[in-house]
C-alpha cells in the first residue's frame, strides 16, 4: 500500500469535519466536527513525519493535542454557560430573551 493513502484519508476526514461544521446546528456537535478536523491534521503531520524521516511532525501533533485539550475546556465552559442561561431564562426571566 502506498504511504500517501494516509494523506488521502486525512484529507477526507478533514473535509467531512469541515462540512459538518457548516451543516450541523447543535454547537456541541459542531465542536466535535472541529475536533475531527484537528485529528485529520494530526494524521497528516504524523504521516509527513514518517515521509520526512524526522520527529518534528510528531511533536507538532503532540502540541496540537495539548492545544485541543485547552480549547475543549474553554469551549465547553462557554457552551455550558449558555445552556444554563437559556434554561434558567425560561424559568426565571423570559424578558431577557425577548429583547
Amino acid at each position: 500500500m502506498n504511504i500517501a493513502n494516509y494523506l488521502y484519508l486525512s484529507a477526507l476526514l478533514f473535509t467531512i469535519g469541515s462540512i459538518g461544521v457548516v451543516l450541523r446546528r447543535n454547537s456541541i456537535v459542531v465542536f466535535m466536527c472541529i475536533e475531527l478536523m484537528l485529528n485529520a491534521a494530526n494524521l497528516a503531520f504524523v504521516t509527513f513525519s514518517r515521509i520526512n524521516g524526522n520527529l518534528d511532525g510528531q511533536v507538532v501533533a503532540f502540541f496540537t493535542m495539548v492545544v485541543a485539550a485547552c480549547e475543549v475546556v474553554v469551549g465547553l465552559a462557554i457552551i455550558v454557560t449558555i445552556f444554563r442561561s437559556r434554561r434558567s431564562a425560561s424559568v426565571d426571566d423570559a424578558s431577557l430573551l425577548n429583547r
Binding site: L7, S10, F14, G17, S18, V21, S27, V30, F31, I34, M37, L38, A40, A41, A44, F45, T47, F48, I51, N52, G53, N54, D56, G57, V59, V60, F63, T64, V67, C70, E71, V74, G75, I78, I79, T81, I82, R84, S85, R86, S88, A89, D92, D93, S95, L96, L97, R99
Partner: protein, 504 residues
Amino acid sequence: MLTTPSFEYLLLSPMLIILAAAVIGVLAEAFLDRNHLPVIQLFISVGAILLALIQIYRIKSSSSTSAAIGSVVIDKATIYLQGTILIIGLLALLLISDQEQFVAQASAIPGSREEQESTSKGSIQTEIYPLLSFALAGMMLFTCASDLITLFVALEVFSLPLYLLAGLSRRRRLLSQEAALKYFLLGAYSSAFFLFGAAFLYGISGSVYLVDISSAVSGGYGNDVFVLIGLIFISVGLLFKISAVPFHAWTPDVYQGAPTSVTAFMAAATKVAAFGAILRIFYVVFSPIANQWRPIISVIAIITMVFGSAVAIAQRDVKRMLAYSSIAHAGFILTAVLALNKSGLSAALFYLTTYGLSTLAAFGIITLIRDATGEVTDLNKWAGLGKKSPLIAGSFAFLLLSFAGIPLTSGFIGKFAIFSAAYETGNIAVVVFGVLSSALAAFFYIRVILLMFVAQSQNDSISIAIPSVKSRIAIGATTAATVILGLFPSLLLNITQSFSIFIK
C-alpha cells in the same frame, strides 16, 4: 546528548514580563483580598506593560535577531509591532478598567437573584486582567514567531482569552455569551484550517521553521502542489483573524455582543497581531511564489474593501457599523501585503498604528453614550448628539472622517501610503477599487455626522456619561494621536520606514 538550550532572555523579555504579570495576576486572584483586587490587578497589568515598553525601547537596535532556539525572530518590524500592541493594550486596559461594562459575576445566571445581588454589591470579575495580559503576550508572540508550532500556539494563546472576554458583558448577557460561542466556534474552525495547511508545509520542507519552508517553497523539493495547499489553508486561518471577506461572518456579531472596551481591544490589537503574522508569512515564506497568490489575495482585498464599505451603509447599530468598517480596513491593509516591498510594509505598519488608535478612541466614545439601560448603540438615538455634547460628538465625527480617509487625518495619510505602495508595484485595479470604496464609506460616515449635528433629537433619554480619569486619558490620547498623526505624519512615517525590515 542534550545540550542546554540557550534563550536570548533580553530579546524575549517584553513577552516574558507580560506573561509573568499574567501569572502573578492569577496568583493574586487566588490569595489576595477581593476588595483590593481591582486596584492591585490594574497596577500589575499597567506596570508590566510599562516595563515591557521600556524593554522594547532597550532592544530596539539589538544586533542578535533570533531567540529561543530559532523559534522567535526579533527584527525591526517585530519590535515596532510589539510596541504598537503594548501601547494599544495599555490604552485599552484603561478603558477596560472602567468595570461597569463587565458582568459582576460571570457564573451567575442572567436575571437571577444572585446576579442582582452581586451587581448591587459591586463585586467585580477581576480575572479579566490576567486574561488580557495572556492575550497581549500571545499577540506579541504571534508577530515574532518563526516556526509553525510557535505560530499555532501563539494564535491560541491570544485567541482563548478573547473568546472568554467576549462573553462577559454586563448588559444583554445572552447576546454576549452567544457572541463568545460564535467567536469560539469559528475561531477554532479557522485554527483547524491553519493547522492543516501547516501540515502540508511541513510535508514539503521537512521542517517547521519558516526559513526552511521558504527555501523549500523557492524550489528543489518536487512540485508545488503541497505548497499551494499549505498556502491556501494557512491563509484561510489567518484571513479569518483579520476578518477578511468571506471569512468575516463572526465580526459584526462578536463586535456587537462583546463588552465595548473588549471590542475596542479586539478590533485594534488583534488586527495588528494578525497582520504582523500575515506580513511575515507572505514576505518571508511565500514571496518567491508571489505570482501564484497575488491574484487571489487581490480579489479578496477588493471584495473585502467593497463589501465592508457597502454593508456598513445598511447598519443601524454603531458597533456593527464599526465592525463592517473594520472589515473594510482589513481590505485596505491587505493591499499593502500585495505590494511586497519595503514601502508597502512601512505603509502597513503606519496604517495599523493609526487605525488601531482611532478605533480605540471610537469605541471608547461609544462607551460614554448611555441611557437608563446602558450603552446606546442604536444610531437613530444618536440624533442630535452634537447639541448635547459638541466635544464628544465632534471627536467622534473627526474619528469617522479619519476612518473615511479625509485629508488632514491620520487615516488619509495611511490610505495614501498604502495605495501609493500598491501603485508602485502595479496593482492598479486594487487601488481603483480601494479609492472607490473609500468614497463609498465616506458617504456613510458623513451621513452619521449629519445625523449627530443636524438632525433633531427625538427623545432626550440618552445622556453622555462623565468619563472617569482613566477613560479620559485613553480617549483623549487616542484622539489626539489621530489629530497629530494627521497633521504631522512624518513623526511616525520616519519611524515605520526605519522599522520596516523583516529578517528571514
